[in-house]
């Protein structure tokens, strides 16, 4: 049976958390022998359209990528290659006939990790370090803050953005500054934050990926994004010749296992049982559709 030719075009290196999840899911599919997988990383905005076109020309059946900053270019190419399936990370809507969208809708586990953070902080002060205030980050931060407030109304937040995706020393510095101000739990949106927490013996909450193996005594919990359901759904459609313009965003929800609260692992016994009970209850409510996490995409601000 012929493998499906899949190409991915990333604007950042594949280590970058967000992209690493897509990369991982595709590599697994490749390992299972389902697909031929090629990718380009760190493709600049100016080159994006060309690279996508070239993959389309070369006969890729499915092209994945992130079209956030190159929305119109990506959509233009998709129009030119109606036989190719496009599955793009995008805040926009799908476009007929072949342009589908997905996004990291992991606000649900973010909410849950927020609850854990709210319960674990002793100083009632949580620090959050982000790269840029973009919707993909903002909505997770807001969900996290909501979750924390639910279990601990007294909690306050310090938020800061470092203006770079790739400056771990700087992110670490921002986290240190928060710890100096009294934060004892840190929301680690960027690499570098957990390191600061680890060095100072504070706690951290992971985002998108699970970094507990690297920081066993620091990372309490993580909101994981799993691209596998999204990829699987798209591959199935492609294989069946039924790929069309759809919103795959739902496959990033907990219901589809596109997102989850990472296992507590080393913190299994360290998180109070009553807190975990509340978290589990909320998790169930979400899965049962009884609770919906609000999606807020404005820039989060420090509270006092």
């Amino acid at each position: 049976q012929a493998k499906i030719k899949v190409a991915a075009v990333y604007t950042v290196p594949v280590e970058q958390q967000w992209v690493s999840r897509i990369h991982k899911a595709l590599n697994e599919a490749k390992a299972r022998g389902e697909i031929d997988y090629v990718f380009s990383e760190s493709v600049s905005n100016a080159d994006y359209e060309r690279v996508v076109r070239q993959y389309a020309e070369q006969g890729s059946a499915l092209i994945l990528g992130e079209s956030f900053a190159v929305e119109s270019a990506a959509r233009k190419v998709a129009k030119d290659y109606p036989k190719t399936a496009f599955l793009m990370g995008s805040s926009g809507k799908p476009q007929a006939p072949n342009f589908s969208v997905f996004d990291n809708y992991i606000q649900e586990p973010s909410y849950l990790t927020g609850m854990i953070a709210g319960g674990m902080t002793k100083t009632n002060h949580i620090g959050m370090v982000g790269g840029y205030a973009i919707p993909e980050v903002n909505r997770l931060m807001h969900a996290f803050m909501e979750g924390a407030r639910e279990v601990n109304p007294k909690v306050k937040f310090t938020v800061s953005f470092i203006g770079s995706w790739f400056d771990p020393p700087k992110a670490k510095e921002a986290a240190f500054a928060m710890i100096d101000k009294g934060a004892d739990v840190l929301y680690a949106e960027r690499f570098g934050v957990s390191d600061a927490a680890k060095e100072r013996g504070k706690l951290a909450i992971g985002n998108v990926i699970n970094t507990q193996p690297q920081y066993p005594n620091t990372v309490v919990a993580s909101a994981l994004w799993n691209m596998e359901p999204t990829v699987a759904a798209a591959l199935a459609k492609v294989k069946a010749g039924q790929f069309k313009n759809e919103d795959y965003g739902q496959y990033s929800l907990m219901k589809y296992k596109g997102a989850e609260l990472a296992p507590l692992g080393t913190f299994e016994s360290k998180v109070p049982a009553d807190l975990m009970a509340k978290v589990r209850a909320k998790e169930r409510a979400i899965l049962d559709g009884k609770f919906t996490v609000k999606v807020v995409e404005t820039e989060p601000k420090s509270t006092n």
């Binding site: 290196p13 594949v14 280590e15 690493s20 990369h23 991982k24 590599n27 760190s42 620090g127 205030a133 310090t158 938020v159 800061s160 953005f161 470092i162 203006g163 770079s164 995706w165 790739f166 400056d167 771990p168 020393p169 700087k170 670490k172 510095e173 921002a174 240190f176 500054a177 928060m178 100096d180 101000k181 690499f191 570098g192 390191d195 990926i209 970094t211 690297q214 601000k301 420090s302 509270t303 006092n304």
Partner: protein, 316 residues
């Protein structure tokens, strides 16, 4: 007032020195090159190469100081390249520098990607530990005790470099080739050798500054992680009027603004007298202040007279 609280706290100064260390290395490196008459815009790339190779060596089992030495060695190599281009071949220093930056950066990324084709999280090393043995020394202990040994090296480097430049025959030769290469040659100094040597040594310092990022400030290598720090150093040298002591001061001041900026930003709307500004304003602060500082010192800046002037023997 909150501002006073911030700058009078030990953790603030710990942060300042940590932010400042790569800048100190880089600034002193640029200073050494420019004192010998060579502008080195290769710094940004050389810092990337230093960050990468220093980390890589440690990752492959070298001791931490071995990693620093490897970074320095790589810095020497790129310095040699820049030196040959600008001194032996007398090419435009701006362009050769930008070329070295492009080359060092892209080579580092290329090598990293070849070596680590499919990692999903960046591989890490165990970085330098803080010098806890210093923690009990009065006054400096609370600050220096939280820093790593490279920071101490950076701090000591300024007086060492000052001694070198102002007290030793070699330093005189370096200053002379930066002021009037023809005069130096007339006194039997091998201008090209001194210039290339200074550029190499300066580049090694830059590379160590880069290695600090991956072996001390952090424990992994990332694309783009140098993030413009090299360019800042080029500005700091002018601010410092090419004097090592002032270079140290300038780097620490810049780092202080940077550290302060983070803290002010986190203060959010709470800071008295300041409205809630977009975070970009705070990020801009160190750059804007750098330009203002340059404007203030420009009148007194004594450029090395032969800076950016290629010297071709036997030509007028």
């Amino acid at each position: 007032m909150e501002l006073l609280d911030i700058i009078s706290s030990a953790p603030f100064w710990v942060a300042v020195l940590r932010v400042g260390t790569p800048l100190i290395f880089g600034t002193l490196g640029v200073l050494l090159c420019e004192r010998a008459g060579v502008l080195n815009l290769g710094i940004e790339g050389i810092m990337v190469a230093g960050a990468f190779t220093g980390w890589l060596a440690v990752y492959h089992g070298a001791p931490l100081w071995g990693g620093v030495a490897v970074a320095a060695g790589v810095g020497l190599m790129f310095g040699l390249l820049h030196g040959v281009l600008t001194v032996s071949l007398a090419l435009s220093q701006h362009v050769a520098g930008l070329g070295v930056t492009m080359l060092a950066t892209s080579l580092s990324y290329y090598a990293y990607r070849l070596g680590f084709a499919s990692v999903s999280t960046p591989p890490t090393i165990t970085p330098f530990a803080p010098m806890v043995w210093l923690a009990d020394v009065p006054l400096i202990g609370p600050v220096l005790g939280a820093e790593t040994a490279l920071t101490l090296v950076a701090l000591l480097l300024a007086p060492v470099l000052a001694w070198l430049l102002y007290r030793t025959p070699l330093g005189l030769a370096i200053r002379m080739v930066g002021e009037n290469p023809a005069a130096a040659e007339g006194q039997g100094i091998r201008v090209a050798a001194v210039r290339i040597g200074a550029v190499m040594a300066g580049s090694a310092l830059m590379a160590v500054g880069g290695a600090f990022l991956t072996t001390s400030a952090f424990n992994a290598f990332f694309f783009n992680m140098v993030n413009g720090r090299g360019w800042i150093c080029v500005a700091l040298v002018v601010f410092a009027s090419w004097r090592p002591g002032r270079a140290l001061l300038g780097a620490v001041l810049f780092a202080a603004f940077d550290a302060l900026q983070l803290r002010l930003q986190q203060g959010g709307a709470s800071l008295p007298g300041l409205p809630a500004l977009p975070y970009q304003v705070y990020l801009m602060l160190p750059y804007v202040l750098s330009i203002l500082a340059l404007v203030l010192v420009a009148r007194r800046a004594a450029y090395p007279q032969a800076l950016m002037k290629p010297y071709r023997k036997g030509e007028r």
